[in-house]
Symmetry: D2
Subunit: 353 residues, 4 copies
């Protein structure tokens, strides 16, 4: 029988990393994710791992790149402003085809913003975190259990596809306490890191990890090759949850903590006789666009509910592609939309249909 | 009569900045935009300005923020990896409602990538350069003349709307020499900077420049307020060029250097009897979505041609919203598509219609 | 008639620098010398100069080196811990034969120590501030007037002998207010900087500023050559003040603020019939060893009075070379010895003779 | 029977550190001491230790301070310019009464200087490495065996007297290979680190490690207290070697690699009938001044032979205090004086007596 432990979301990430064999962590403190560092600072030495507080976020991401190049499972974590600081390094990691896990426990922005939860780094995570043609695997947990299981999954995916993965959480999930079952998540088979620059011991040719290609043909080839892998991922690794979508006239798209609020709002709206359901993307990249397109054939309208001024709604619109209207409802700056306001939004939309 | 000067694109940016009263520049060298720094290092002292090579890109953007806060017209420039390093600072500038100009003379990515021209920072410029809900004004020059005139325009827009603007150029435009007429661009009226933190002299209350709001309501209000300004910009400041779209069955959407190649391809395809035209966005944000939507009513297909793996194509699709098919053609890694290959792409599409 | 201005010692340094044509200043704030930066931040722009607050002391000294290499008169200032941070740069400046002025407004040490005045960086200033065989010109003001006039003198000496000079002041002198006559100090003739790396304009061979010599013979030659200049300085530039030494049985050696206290103590001791005088070194390097040696022929004992645990006393002993006893009296950690305790020390010594 | 291992001097330092229980090392590469880092990077993980290459020398010394504060045995190493960069941190460590070992494998200076061996950081090591009243224990090995045994001794002394110790070596000793017997050096009893800030576990009052004292009386008391310990060290820990001084008319004072050359020169001069001997200081601070003073009673002259322009000669003169003449012979910039030139110098002096 599985043993459940009551933990904060931030701690669940940390413990899941260790449980998944990630024994290198490089961080720099920032609210609301500092518990990850704190937890690992205590735990890592006990399991023979390394938790290092770098002198800055820029240093932390470059140390992460170094450890990844040497073949270690490695994680870094920060919150919104710190992820911006890491963005050059993230692009380098992508350009070097290195696996690692970057945790973003989002807070309100832009700038210093606030310390309350937010989902306003969606654009950055899915499109622009770094310069150049590149993608991150982006996984969005919605419970403390998923903070753990998606950490494990992201580490596996990163290794399988040799690319950086991001766990896009938020301050509410980071601070929330729920029971976690560490036996519940299966491990995937990951390839051996024959490309790692971890010393040859005279046994093989020198490995090189590099993102610089002076010849543009070589650079283009390397990018095109990478996009073939991205296409594989879009085919094989999309994850989402559906809730009451079967008969839904209205489909809410929401991820993370927001999806939980939407479920309550859906139950309330159903009681009022409104047929509404939820599509919760678990992978934000690859985005569940095929499933949304298919729902668009039978539903009357979508609403993207986000803790931002509207970012994922672009991806919903791209998937729906004009088949039906796509609305948006959001709060920002650290405010979590209430069940009541989402229910009201559903009702308003239902009346207009 | 206007006097024209033969200049490199990078120099045109630099000279236009000075001509527009931008007397503060903070940079750090990176190919292919180093001529901007070099030019300003020589010219700024002669016009009473300041050109400072900072110790890093992170320092340069923070100095830019400081000068902006003090009410100076200020510019920084870099190329792709350097822009990633600046991204935390850019989000802070946006969050502080400060005007400044950030020049990105794009090179191939991700990572160190190459030193040849590219347009693969489109996503970053238009969506994810920094964390949080925020936008940049993004202007995309297509000639050395526009390197100058859009620099002037971007500085004015930044001041008018109190937000950072980006000139999104590329290495080809930066290195290309063409005649520039500095008398040709009109100056806009810009408001006085009554908010600047430049000393009170006992005459007014203390100004505060800040992006931190501990109370989430205050933070949300500040973001919502900012998005009202963004809506104004989307209404008033969209710029684009149309070329042979009147009767076009196929509309190419392309910006920057790529648009010039597309014009030649269009002329070639027209000779072959294909009705094809070009919509060239000059502002990438705000994106000319209304005009594209309106073209979508009468055209049969769009192709987004880009020097990337396909980024602006998302915005074209969002504007077209399913009204007709949207195709993509691109080269990446520093390779500029040739007139021949774009023409071939047009012909292939024309045959399939 | 000379016009006197009432100023703080720190301000007198700053104003004297400008009056002496030093238009470049690079600093970083630290108590008790921050007024120098503050004053120059306001004044420099008005006289066409540059006052830059660097990102750290290490940056400030390297900017100082750069400005010096380009032929500018340049000054940096700090207090004790900040001078330690600058020590690599100071050694580089010495090894490159570059002139500049480094101001040390000493506070108590070691470590963070305190913010009260001290003279405990004497060893560092005269012997070990940087690695390698090298010297600094070290001038020790004893009044606000000298804070100004020795700043001017140090800048001239640095230029004449192409080496870094240090003004070794302390927090008491920095904060003290006294009238200063800026017309009082003569300017020396300084050579043209034909070695400066300030652009050739096609008129001469490239100048090189360098401290790296891979061939040890070249390095030795460069050091030996420099020590010939040092020998010239020891012959020509020793400065000191004598006070009542003619008939003195006891000679106090003291510099800076301590020398002023010693004068009062001497007057008090003279009233008690004790023949005591003062030798005040104004240059700490070159040290007035010949004059002390000559006093040692006729006096019965020396006391070195310092605000430290005893550092200059080594130089006094080296000069006296066993001819008579050399005693020490000092306070440290920010405590200025009182007239009473110095008088008591004199009396105790007089009785033992 | 003791087992001897053939090793480079730099490696001997590294291995001796581990053998002495020093399991934390923080460094930054610089010729000619990089082998220490290289060796420890490989060995530390195998013995459960930590070898970290910091982002700069400044970071390395601050990490050293942190590890020392937490009660670890800790070492950092560098060569001349890097030691200058560490000087603020060294003063902080001294001001916090923390034990650690700083290795300086000297190269020619000032500035970048050269990469050949030198002894020109003597002044810095013995007097001015940091601001404020402070001392380092300074040990000067003269063989690869001593590179090892004095590393062990320095670590013990640092712990016993709670202060930083420096191993002042040079590039020749660092690169030289000789057999080392690691069983040969005795371990001293060191006190428990009850002052370490390593977590209270609820068992004791909070420890504080600090060098800041706002009250000058407290600061003075802390310095005076420290100087009492320094006096103990001067009484108990002086180490030197004498060679043929019994009947010597001339006593050479030389340390490190220079002392070995002087021994050969002494043998050559003895063959020529000159009575000459050697006093080799093993501790440079505390300096063997009593023993030199006592030799000064019976010898006719001293020569200080150094790889510098003359630095230790000050300490010889201070010890001799005029009892007989003190001469100097030196080479600098990376040149090791030859046996022939030292012999010639001895003969020249012998003739003049």
């Amino acid at each position: 029988m599985a043993k459940k432990v009551l933990m904060k979301g931030n701690e669940a990430i940390a413990e899941a990393a260790i449980a998944s064999g990630c024994l290198h962590f490089f961080g720099y403190p920032i609210t609301p994710q500092t518990e990850i560092s704190e937890y690992l600072a205590k735990r890592m030495p006990k399991v023979g791992g390394l938790c290092l507080q770098a002198e800055s976020e820029v240093a932390a991401i470059n140390m992460t790149m170094g450890a990844a190049a040497a073949g270690s499972r490695v994680m870094t974590s920060s919150s919104s402003p710190g992820i911006s600081l890491k963005s050059e390094g993230i692009s380098y990691i992508a350009g070097c085809d290195l696996p690692c896990l970057i945790v973003n426990v989002q807070r309100g922005g832009p700038g210093l913003g606030g310390i309350q939860p937010s989902q306003s780094d969606y654009y950055q995570a899915t499109r622009g975190v770094g310069h150049g043609d590149m993608r991150l695997l982006v996984l969005a947990p919605s419970s403390v259990q998923e903070m753990a299981s998606l950490t494990a999954e992201a580490l596996d995916l990163a290794d399988i596809y040799r690319m950086p993965a991001m766990l896009l959480a938020d301050g509410a999930l980071g601070q929330m306490m729920e029971p976690v079952d560490f036996s519940a998540f299966p491990k995937r088979e990951v390839p051996e890191k024959t490309w790692a620059t971890n010393g040859m011991g005279g046994k093989r040719k020198k490995n090189v990890v590099n993102s610089l290609f002076i010849d543009p043909n070589e650079l283009e080839n390397s990018v095109v090759e990478r996009y073939k892998r991205y296409a594989e991922i879009e085919k094989n690794e999309v994850k989402y949850e559906e809730f009451m979508t079967d008969d839904a006239d209205i489909v809410i798209v929401a991820f993370g903590i927001t999806a939980r609020i939407c479920k309550s709002a859906i139950l309330a709206a159903r009681e009022a006789g409104i047929k509404v359901g939820l599509l919760r993307p678990i992978t934000l990249w690859p985005f569940p666009k095929t499933q949304i397109a298919s729902l668009a054939e039978k539903t009357k309208a979508f609403i993207s509910v986000e803790m931002s001024m509207g970012q994922m709604v672009d991806d919903v619109r791209l998937a729906v592609n004009g088949r039906c209207p796509v609305h948006f409802y959001g709060r920002t700056g650290g405010i979590i939309p209430s069940v009541e306001e989402v229910t009201a939004e559903i009702k308003k939309l239902a009346e207009s249909l």
